[in-house]
């Protein structure tokens, strides 16, 4: 599936849509950025509560396609600017990681892209 599919989740608010055709092949949940670095697959959508600029840096370095900031955490302006600069799509949601992951998994499943 592509990043654009994430915009169809009604609980996801689009904060920045970088490249809507970018591939999303996996999902990953994590708030420990070192764990995300080590274990998140490239082309994943990352569900996290770390709503700050460094998360964008991590996502960019490991090739994450999109970020979903969970639990209604508010996103700082500098994070949004960083997302624009690094061309990473950014969403926010009131859902928990688990609920958000379920939505993403449903999309991946219907896409037959499989899970990771």
């Amino acid at each position: 599936m592509t990043v654009e599919a994430l915009t169809t989740v009604k609980e996801f608010e689009v904060l920045h849509l970088a490249d809507k055709d970018r591939q999303v092949a996996h999902g990953y949940c994590g708030d420990l950025l070192s764990d995300v670095m080590a274990n998140a697959p490239a082309s994943a959508v990352l569900m996290t509560i770390q709503a700050h600029k460094n998360t964008i840096a991590v996502a960019s370095l490991v090739g994450i396609s999109a970020l979903v900031i969970c639990n209604g955490r508010s996103v700082s302006t500098d994070m949004l600017l960083a997302a624009e600069e690094e061309e990473i799509s950014l969403f926010s949601t009131e859902l928990t990681h688990f609920e958000a992951a379920a939505r993403v998994l449903a999309l991946l499943g219907s896409d037959d892209a499989g899970t990771h």
Partner: protein, 310 residues
């Protein structure tokens, strides 16, 4: 004329970094020669001559109560009260420095007040040292010499290196989360433009980011050096302290000395160094209270995907 002809705002970056990094306690004289308020000015004059110093702090225990300078002695000789005690004639309105201040403060003080020395107090208001402009110039000379040596060593390596040899140095500042990731992003871009395979770039990015973050979180600042060879990338992270007490423990996943707010940002979970090690082809660490140096290499050639745990 300036006492110390260094501008604390627009000097070379290397110098600015030094005068903000070096603390007064790193350069002050701690071998204190003091007198009490009952000491006579004559005795103080003799101590000054014997010790070749031009000012003597007057103390009560560890507390500083005054200062007798060469000027005070000259005046005493002139006015004929050299046999009297310090308490009558010592300067009591003293300008002092604190041992934790960077030496940039001292440089500004020497400029602003025309004294040749300042007493240095610690947080508990105890006299712990004296600082003269000479202490500062000596320390700066030593440190600047070290920086120049490093520059010479580096430029030699570039001249003597093979054609593909490139080297970049990134300064990492303590607690500068704003720019954390800058060096790693640059390294990633450079590898990408050289058409290195994605999994290898990812490993280089992970290693450099974790090393960068480690310095931001734990060190007093340092630098990250990326050297590109034809076959491999060498990343060296070197900081100026405080050192890792137990490097073996630091390499165990989950070991962390990070504070609460660092953890709240998603760092400091004790995965940094283990991550670096697992993505690198060689890994080397040395640490002392003066600083930690981690050197890793990542082989850039060869299609086989290294079996690292991810």
């Amino acid at each position: 004329m300036q006492e110390i002809p260094i501008n604390t705002v627009t000097s070379a970056n290397v110098v600015l970094e030094l005068i903000y990094r070096l603390k007064i306690k790193d350069v002050m004289t701690t071998n204190l020669i003091t007198a009490t308020k009952e000491t006579t000015l004559r005795e103080i004059q003799q101590i000054m001559r014997r010790e070749k110093i031009t000012g003597l702090p007057i103390v009560m225990g560890k507390r500083l109560i005054g200062l007798v300078s060469m000027d005070d002695i000259i005046q005493a000789l002139d006015q004929g009260y050299i046999e009297e005690r310090a308490r009558e004639h010592m300067s009591r309105n003293l300008i002092i420095l604190e041992d934790d201040m960077p030496i940039s403060f001292a440089i500004n003080y020497f400029d602003r007040y025309r004294y040749h020395r300042f007493p240095v107090l610690n947080k508990d208001n105890e006299l712990v040292g004296m600082i003269t402009n000479r202490d500062i110039t000596n320390a700066l000379l030593i440190e600047i010499n070290r920086e120049v040596e490093e520059l010479e060593r580096r430029s030699q390596r570039i001249e003597g290196g093979i054609l593909s040899h490139e080297m970049y140095t990134y300064r990492i500042m303590q607690n500068n989360f704003e720019n954390a990731g800058h060096a790693s992003t640059e390294i990633k871009k450079r590898l990408k433009s050289a058409a290195i395979e994605a999994p290898i770039i990812r490993r280089a990015a992970i290693a450099s980011y974790e090393l960068e973050m480690n310095m931001v979180v734990h060190s007093h600042g340092g630098r990250l050096i990326a050297e590109y060879g034809a076959e491999e990338l060498t990343i060296t992270a070197t900081d100026t302290g405080p050192g890792i007490e137990d490097t073996d423990a630091a390499l165990e996943a989950g070991y962390s000395t990070a504070g609460e707010w660092i953890r709240s940002l998603g760092f400091g979970a004790g995965m940094g160094l283990p991550n670096v090690k697992s993505v690198s082809d060689t890994f080397h660490i040395t640490s002392s209270p003066k600083g930690t140096t981690v050197t890793v290499t990542i082989t850039l050639t060869g299609a086989e995907e290294r079996n690292h745990d991810s």
